[in-house]
């Protein structure tokens, strides 16, 4: 019978914690497959196996492709370890291959891995036995160990498996295995990608969006919401916070030099995010900043932003090119939402000539004109909370 198997990749590195990681991973897989009719699930020597109706396979594989922590998804035939049973499956496998690709001369190779060391035959012996079976039954087939048309992987475990097809998984670590983080989500291309990248390392996400209603519109907020919805398809449940930053912008606009508006606003955002993260036990802030991308995303700018709080700020895109970021955003399907043209909260107050290499001392002098605690409180008092994917 046909069956799907899942390899965990990096989890092998986890030493004594491996059991916890595997448990978390299995929980994620079960959750991802909750809409499918699954006949049986079992763990066998480090691989996870899924039994279901064959008609469900495409859907299941597509779903598994987006589950963090999976390195390879394989479609295989399973049988007992009896050689005749294995050969029966091998015949089905080759017949199916010929049906799909048409008749003609072919080369093949058998690669056996034997984790059951008590099995009477060694791996090379199995290769020979099965190879001989193919050669005597299919006269168009020849062996080529270097560059075969068809490579058949055989695994001898508690049962015997023939692997039909290997599909690359997304990699990373199981969700929830890496702590909790708060993503600063704007409507742009970068921040959803940043969230995705960090979540891929097992971090559970919440996200924080800053609006400036009525200086931004509900369409912009709706866009951020849809980005969060899309993201949650990969990262699971999220809490989405929306905070109005208008009073901070107004105060900066009235009391500080215009060139500093962007950097001052970003420092305010970090302070608000820090308060929220402290209350909700999130251990890091995550931003979509990328070095040199815009005026405020310089090394000096980032340092000044960092100095606003004691929080760890993760910037997974810091050294990525825009094209690399766009590639990921297209793959996770946030790109089309991100490029919809609605003003985000900075654009109305954005200075014509922002300071690109701010010095902390200058920024602190500007902030002397602001009642920072009051502005943070005011912003937080406008907060709206939405639970996504619950």
């Amino acid at each position: 019978m046909k069956i799907i198997s899942v390899s965990f990749g990096e989890l092998f590195l986890k030493g004594k914690n491996r059991r916890t990681f595997v448990d978390k991973e299995i929980r994620q897989i079960k959750k991802a497959l909750s809409d499918f009719k699954i006949d049986n699930l079992y763990l066998e020597q480090g691989k996870y196996y899924i039994e279901a109706e064959e008609s469900e396979f495409d859907g299941i594989i597509n779903k598994l492709k987006n589950v963090f922590g999976i390195s390879i998804i394989s479609l295989c035939y399973r049988s007992s370890k009896d050689l005749d049973d294995i050969k029966k499956n091998l015949k089905d496998l080759i017949d199916e291959y010929l049906e799909k690709n048409g008749p003609g001369k072919r080369t093949f190779k058998i690669s056996t891995k034997r984790s059951d060391k008590s099995y009477p035959l060694t791996s090379p012996e199995i290769n020979g036995e099965l190879g001989g079976f193919v050669l005597s039954n299919y006269h168009d087939f020849d062996v080529d160990v270097h560059n075969p048309d068809l490579e058949i992987f055989v695994e001898i475990r508690a049962k015997a498996y023939l692997i039909i097809k290997k599909i690359k998984g997304v990699g990373g670590l199981p969700l929830g295995s890496g702590g909790r983080g708060l993503l600063l989500l704007s409507g742009g291309i970068d921040s959803p990608v940043a969230g995705y990248q960090i979540a891929k390392r097992g971090v559970e996400l919440s996200c924080l969006y800053f609006n400036s209603f009525p200086f931004t519109n509900q369409r912009a907020e709706d866009k951020a919401r849809r980005l969060a919805d899309k993201l949650s398809e990969y990262v699971g449940k999220m809490t989405y916070y929306s905070v109005n930053l208008l009073s901070a912008y107004t105060s900066i606009n009235k009391n500080c030099k215009q060139r500093y508006t962007t950097i001052l606003a970003r420092r305010m955002m970090m302070r608000i995010a820090e308060r929220l993260a402290d209350e909700n036990k999130q251990d890091a802030l995550i931003t979509g900043e990328s070095l040199g991308q815009v005026a405020s995303q310089t090394i000096q700018g980032m340092r000044v932003v960092d100095a606003a709080t004691d929080m760890l700020i993760l910037r997974p895109l810091v050294a990525m090119d825009k094209t690399e970021i766009i590639d990921i955003s297209e793959r996770i399907e946030t790109y089309d939402i991100s490029i919809e043209p609605f003003a985000d909260c900075c654009s109305f107050f954005a200075p014509d000539k922002p300071v690109t290499k701010p010095r902390l001392a200058d920024v602190l002098r500007e902030e002397e004109n602001l009642d920072i605690d009051k502005l943070v409180d005011e912003a937080l008092s406008t907060m709206e909370v939405v639970r996504i994917g619950y």
Binding site: P214, F215, N217, T250, A343, F348
Partner: protein, 370 residues
């Protein structure tokens, strides 16, 4: 609710909905079908075509129903395209402006003054024997400026009687007595949803002297120019809305516009964009600009009070301000243009409440931005 965004679209009126539903119930068949039900529908369609034609002073065979005014404009421009030059006003709606730019290589522009009126004395200098096509918007959708079409057409035809003159009458249709024969235009575009009719139906008048090529192909409806099953319920409802509009009294709309203009002019650094006088300006559209404000936050503050208006232009930084640029509106006013557009259902109670809320919202925005 105070809905002053009627130039964008209007709410369909009850009478038009009723006619739509009745027609949809009784005349649902395809007018092209050979059977009796099809014939009944065809007759009904002919009836409405004649009604529109009679009212506009033209022949039944010169009226084409279309899926929208945008389609009408595209058909008029693309369908009449041939060698030669085009001339348009710089304040045409995008559904004319972009299409002409798309098909003609050589385009000149009729000069307009600061209120958006075409300078009639200069028309002659802009035309020659190679000019093939002209298009003028009768009432501008952003600033409400109304052109004297009869005089403009006369001047154009005097230079070269072969020039095909198209008029985009979307914001004028139903609001003035329109006699197309007297105006001597060759093509005229109108829409239903700006006068409380359904969306998805428009009209194009094409003089029998003009030969159009189809721009879409299919079943050959509307003499091959608008293939696709005729939308009879929408046509019926469109006519109902038009008929009621023509029978309406516009005196209150005029009062509303006058009152709001007078009151908002009292605000510091405010100005009228366009004209005040009824002769040069639609009573249904009022565009005003306020120095150093952004129109979008103002719109959102007003929506919180259930009041709906539009920005007088595309307002965000770096966006297209084609029409306000064309009339030379000063830069510090460009972002702060607001369009208030009225309907026959607008009244003085709304106008008074509007003015109070508007002044308050504007003060809030100015306080944040100064």
């Amino acid at each position: 609710m105070i809905y002053f965004d009627n130039a964008a679209t209007t709410k369909m009126r009850r009478e038009a909905i009723d006619v739509y539903l009745e027609t949809n119930e009784r005349y649902f068949a395809n007018p092209s079908s050979l059977h009796q039900l099809g014939l009944d529908a065809e007759k009904k369609l002919r009836y409405y075509r004649k009604k529109f034609a009679d009212d506009l002073g033209v022949k039944e065979s010169e009226i084409y129903f279309t899926p929208s005014a945008t389609f009408s404009n595209n058909l008029a421009i693309r369908g009449s395209f041939g060698p030669g030059k085009a001339i348009i006003s710089p304040i045409e709606h995008s559904a004319v402006y972009r299409v002409v730019k798309d098909v003609y290589d050589d385009i000149s522009y009729l000069p307009v003054d600061k209120g958006g009126k075409i300078v009639e004395d200069e028309i002659a200098n802009k035309l020659d024997k190679d000019t093939r096509f002209a298009s003028v918007i009768m009432v501008n959708n952003e600033i409400g400026t109304r052109q004297n079409i009869e005089a403009i057409v006369k001047k154009i035809k005097k230079i070269n009687p072969n020039i095909i003159v198209h008029v985009d009458g979307v914001q004028a249709f139903g609001k003035y007595k329109i006699d197309l024969k007297k105006m001597k235009v060759d093509m005229f575009t109108a829409s239903s949803h700006k006068i409380h009719g359904p969306k998805g139906i428009g009209l194009l008048y094409v003089s029998e002297k003009v030969r159009l090529n189809p721009i879409t192909l299919g079943g050959g409806q509307e003499k091959g120019l608008v293939s696709g099953t005729e939308n009879l319920p929408a046509v019926a409802a469109f006519y109902k809305a038009y008929e009621l509009m023509r029978a309406s009294d516009f005196s209150e709309v005029k009062l509303v516009k006058e009152y709001i203009l007078r009151e908002l002019m009292k605000i510091k650094d405010s100005k009228l964009v366009g004209y005040e006088d009824e002769k040069d300006s639609s009573s249904f559209i009022l565009n005003m600009a306020f120095k150093n404000i952004k129109s979008e936050p103002l719109i959102h503050l007003l929506e919180m009070e259930d009041i709906y208006v539009s920005s007088g232009s595309a307002c965000s930084k770096g966006k297209d301000n084609r029409i306000l640029d064309a009339i030379g509106l000063e830069e510090e006013y460009l972002d702060g243009a607001i369009r208030m557009s009225f309907s026959v259902f607008s009244n003085m109670d709304q106008a008074k409440e509007f003015v109070i809320c508007f002044k308050r919202a504007l003060a809030t925005i100015r306080n944040i931005m100064e």
